[in-house]
C-alpha cells in the first residue's frame, strides 16, 4: 500500500496547519500594516472611478432590468455587449453589438458612426460582478461625448426575461 493510515492522518494535519498558519500571518500583517485592505469590501476600479468622479448622474447612469427590457423594444437604442467575443456568441440581447473591453480601441472606432446616430447607448456584461460594462461605458463616453447607460444586471439577469439572440 502506498500510504499507511498514520501517514495520511499526519499529512492532513500538517497540511491544515500550514494553510492556517499562512492565513493567520496574512490576516495579522494586514491588520497591523498602515495600508492594509478592507477584507470584505472589494470594489472594482471602474466602480470606484465612477463613484469618485461624480460622472454617475449625468455621463454614465445605471439602469435596471425593467428599463433594459423596455429599451430593448425601443427603436434607436443600441445595446453594447462588453463581454469577450466567445461569451457574446453564446447568446446576447437581440441586435446588440460586441465591443469587448479588452479590444475596445480596435473595435469601437469602426462603430462610432452608428453609435453617434443612436438615441440611447446601453452597455452590459455578464452580471453585477463583472466590470466590463462600466469600463466600456467610460470609454464610450470619452469617445462619443454623450451619456451612456449601464445595464448592471447583465446577461444573467436578462436571459430568462427577454429574447436572446445567438
Amino acid at each position: 500500500m502506498l500510504f499507511r493510515k498514520g501517514d495520511v492522518k499526519r499529512l492532513i494535519v500538517r497540511s491544515v496547519l500550514l494553510v492556517v498558519l499562512g492565513s493567520a500571518v496574512g490576516l495579522v500583517v494586514n491588520a497591523v500594516r498602515t495600508r492594509g485592505v478592507d477584507l470584505f469590501s472589494y470594489q472594482p476600479p471602474s466602480k470606484q472611478t465612477i463613484a469618485n468622479s461624480g460622472r454617475q448622474t449625468d455621463a454614465i447612469s445605471q439602469i435596471d432590468l425593467m428599463t433594459a427590457l423596455r429599451l430593448q423594444k425601443t427603436p434607436g437604442v443600441v445595446f453594447v455587449d462588453a463581454r469577450p467575443k466567445v461569451e457574446f456568441e453564446t447568446g446576447h440581447i437581440p441586435g446588440a453589438i460586441n465591443i469587448p473591453a479588452k479590444t475596445f480601441e480596435d473595435v469601437a472606432p469602426g462603430l462610432k458612426e452608428s453609435l453617434v446616430k443612436a438615441d440611447k447607448v446601453v452597455t452590459y456584461c455578464s452580471d453585477v460582478e463583472c466590470d466590463e460594462a462600466l469600463e466600456v461605458a467610460e470609454m464610450l463616453h470619452d469617445l462619443l461625448n454623450r451619456p451612456i447607460l449601464v445595464f448592471t444586471g447583465g446577461m444573467r439577469e436578462y436571459q430568462n426575461k427577454g429574447p436572446v439572440e445567438k
Binding site: R14, V25, N30, V37, Y42, S126
Partner: protein, 158 residues
C-alpha cells in the same frame, strides 16, 4: 531511440536524493519569489484575482491577503525541508487551482495577466504556457514527494 542503458541512466538521474532535493528547493524558491510582490501590493493583487471572474467580490480582498502568505510559508517549508511532505501536497493543490483558473480564463476568452509573479498587469498572460509550467512544477513536486516517501519506507523497514 533510447536503449536500456540510456533508460537506466535517466532513471538514476531522476530518481535520486539530489534531484529530489533540487526539485523541492526549486519549487520552494519559485513560490517564495511569487509571493513577494503580492504581499507588498495586496490591493493590486486583488485586481488580478478579480480579472479571472471566479472569486465573488466579497471574498476577493480576503483571498488576496491570505494567498500570498500561504505561498510564502509553503515555499519556505519546501526550501528548509520542514513539513515538506504536507507542503508538497498543498503546493500541488494550489498549482491545480491555478491551472483550473487559467483554463477557465482561456475558455472565457479572457486576455488577462496571470498574476503569477507580478501585480503590475504586464506579466505572463493566463494561458497554455502558465498551465504547462504549473504541470511541470507539479511533476517536480511529485518526484520529490514520492522519493522521500520511499526513503522513509526503507528507513522504517530497516
Amino acid at each position: 531511440m533510447m536503449g536500456a542503458s540510456g533508460g537506466n541512466i535517466l532513471r538514476r538521474i531522476l530518481w535520486n536524493r539530489v534531484t529530489a532535493l533540487v526539485f523541492r528547493m526549486f519549487v520552494g524558491a519559485v513560490f517564495v519569489y511569487a509571493s513577494m510582490d503580492k504581499i507588498v501590493h495586496p490591493g493590486q493583487f486583488a485586481q488580478m484575482v478579480n480579472n479571472y471572474r471566479i472569486v465573488p467580490h466579497v471574498l476577493i480582498n480576503l483571498f488576496a491577503v491570505i494567498l500570498p502568505w500561504i505561498e510564502l510559508i509553503l515555499g519556505l517549508c519546501l526550501i528548509l525541508g520542514v513539513f515538506s511532505d504536507a507542503a508538497s501536497v498543498v503546493t500541488a493543490g494550489l498549482l491545480l487551482v491555478f491551472i483550473t483558473a487559467s483554463i477557465v480564463a482561456l475558455t472565457r476568452g479572457l486576455d488577462i495577466s496571470c498574476g503569477c509573479f507580478s501585480t503590475s498587469g504586464e506579466g505572463a498572460r493566463a494561458g497554455w504556457d502558465v498551465i504547462i509550467r504549473n504541470v511541470i512544477l507539479i511533476a517536480m513536486l511529485a518526484q520529490s514527494f514520492f522519493f522521500d516517501l520511499g526513503r522513509r519506507r526503507l528507513r522504517a523497514g530497516a
